[in-house]
Symmetry: C2
Subunit: 415 residues, 2 copies
């Protein structure tokens, strides 16, 4: 690992000076090579799928693991999208001329060497490599063993394409995925690695954050709530709850909790319970919600309020006030996305001011928290921490800054 990190550092110092032209050429070369070499990637992927089936992987996981020609084409296309995004490097964020004549500029610079620890789908390998490269960084990828063959084949394609475009092949490196040691070395390589992004389940993220001495950005755990206020348009609320929960239950921006104001509970609860049940959602309801549901519910346990189901389940509860909803979210939310449905300006302002999360939605589904939806063109993950980046992370979030100061022999007077 330390050898890989040292090679990455060397690569990073070249990448930091690469022009947008060269980096975009590398991204197009990656896209072309992925399409051209799809057969070898698909062959490697078939091995992972076969091994997954043999080891009894759930069919939903097999689906997440599987590549097809169409999926590879989409992954390649995403690289062209990243090539089309503005280069964050060199952007001047602040600056001016100080009273003494010194000229200051705070400019965006690459982060350096970025480590990525992730599970699941092989497309993350390519997405992460493309974004870190465009932001001028070298990347160390540590994927899951279930996708080992696919990741190996993909990284071979990536490295060849990057080298073909005149950038160091070591801009992209895959770390061994079988031992925990490679993760441990990665997250403790202070001075060699500038940032580690864990992307996956809560277990993976906790292990990385607890063990890391390298700075990390936590991503992806979403215990999201929809709060239906007393002043909500109830039809709108049903649509938003359904979309937030059932559009793609396995992703982090899916709602896991429904909070309903008591004043509209009698009318709203039966309606939303019927629609959720019809969509196949299991309701884990508190007693007040259950009493009004008019459809089968499961009694909510204490742990339900803290559970990110990632499935067709939702915890549901009647609350006495907006303040109660805010307190409940403060206690149980993961700081990802929280939504209010209301027609009342004051309630909306209160909720957006008081709720402490990466994204707060008014009259919109939680499912919109996404780099693509937010117009960032891509995302490497959704940060749920407050340091450095919060919410969808794309190119600017993969950079740091540097103050550049020009003078003419300036010395500082004694104070």
């Amino acid at each position: 690992m330390h050898d890989a990190a040292r090679r990455a550092r060397v690569a990073a110092s070249d990448l930091a000076l690469a022009t947008r032209q060269v980096k975009d050429a590398a991204l197009h070369a990656i896209a072309d090579a992925l399409v051209r070499r799809a057969p070898e990637v698909l062959a490697a992927n078939a091995e992972d799928v076969r091994r997954g089936r043999e080891s009894g992987l759930a069919e939903s996981m097999i689906d997440r693991l599987s590549l097809t020609e169409a999926r590879i084409a989409a992954i390649a296309e995403a690289q062209r999208t990243v090539a089309g995004l503005p280069d964050p490097v060199g952007e001047v964020l602040r600056g001016g001329i100080l009273p003494n004549g010194l000229e200051t500029r705070q400019v965006r610079v690459p982060m350096g060497v970025v480590g990525m620890v992730y599970e699941g789908r092989p497309n993350v390998t390519v997405d992460a490599a493309g974004l870190t490269l465009k932001a001028g960084n070298a990347v160390l990828l540590r994927g899951s063993s279930s996708a080992e063959s696919s990741n190996t084949a993909l990284v071979a394609v990536l490295r060849d394409a990057v080298a073909e475009a005149g950038l160091p092949a070591d801009s992209v490196q895959l770390l061994p995925c079988h031992d925990r040691a490679s993760v441990r070395h990665l997250i403790t390589a202070r001075g060699l690695v500038d940032l580690v992004i864990p992307r996956g389940g809560a277990g993976l993220i906790n292990a990385v954050v607890q063990g890391a001495t390298v700075p990390t950005v936590e991503t992806g755990v979403g215990n999201c709530h929809v709060y239906v206020d007393s002043a909500a348009d109830l039809d709108m609320a049903v649509r938003i709850v359904l979309n937030s929960k059932a559009r793609r239950p396995s992703v982090c921006n899916a709602a896991e909790n429904l909070l309903v104001h008591k004043d509209i509970a009698e009318r709203f609860v039966p309606e939303v319970a019927r629609e959720l049940s019809a969509a196949g959602v299991t309701l884990h309801a508190d007693s007040r919600f259950a009493a009004l549901a008019g459809t089968a519910t499961v009694p909510a346990q204490d742990e339900d309020w803290d559970t990110e189901y990632l499935s067709l389940d939702i915890a549901a509860k009647v609350v006495d006030s907006l303040a109660d909803a805010v307190s409940h979210i403060a206690e149980h939310g993961s700081g990802h996305t929280e939504a209010i449905v209301t027609a009342d300006v004051r309630a909306a302002r209160e909720f957006t001011a008081r709720v402490d999360a990466a994204a707060v939605m008014v009259n919109a589904a939680t499912s919109f928290t996404d780099g693509g939806e937010f117009g960032m063109g891509a995302e490497i993950g959704i940060s749920t921490q407050k340091l450095h980046a919060r919410g969808p992370m794309a190119l600017p979030e993969l950079t740091s800054t540097k103050w550049v100061v020009w003078g003419d022999g300036h010395v500082r007077p004694s104070s």
Copy 2:
């Protein structure tokens, strides 16, 4: 500690909604109270000084520890300066209307609960409290035991003043300073504490960063270099080296290393060596530098290149090229401040592009890296890491962000 952190969280949720008016009133109340209650602060400080003398603290440390009426007035005045700075909270950083009509805004919000672990001077207690308060955060202060009485007296004044202005007294809390346990609890209180800033020597910073599971920002270790290029104005170079080294040798932006291009070494080295020696600086020189110095030098050891002296010492070396200077800095620098003296535009551009540090100076002393000098009005430390904030940290660096999204019943189509 966990009780204190929980009280801080409650205070932080009030502070987050406090208007600038109220926060500035609290800062003015702090300034007034510091002046009014100076006698009790000075009495407490006298105890620390007495204990320091008894335990044989060096006179320079006694000076750093000592408060006077004039110093308290200056500390109070700094609070009024912070009150005059713009409120970072609520600033809209990005935003727009998405193609589907959703309105997005990324706004600055307070970080929440900030922990500060620091050594030395009692003014840090007040400065840190004022800045974190203005940025809408609650602060947990863990100072050094050498300043215990002073810090206790100061925090009593701060809490009273904050409460008098209508904000929670628990916005400012002092943690026990005698056991290591309070630091350990602080830096592992994930979910309760949002950010810990260690400020002090390398030992303190390493201990915090290695043990922390809470996000941290490293501050303050500065192994800074001045590189005198072949195209330098040599008189200017002497002034910049002298100012960078000797203006205040004990601060992190002081230069600890001098790199001289071989082409001007013969003329420059004797000149700068004479001036440095005259200023009482000990030169730890490599053999090429020593041979030209014409004044007494000490042979540089390997560890000299990695030492932050914080004293009237400098490591000095002749290098063959700008590229060698850049490599040396990459290997030994701490990412704080690096300076080049040159009249050559190409050399200046090359150096500023290649050197990876919080601040890179062209024809200016390293001593300018400072929040006050950079026009930030204050600073809570100088970050030497790349995540979140790099260089002098002031109010915006003590905030996070939140996406606020307003819709009209928006749901996301299936993809």
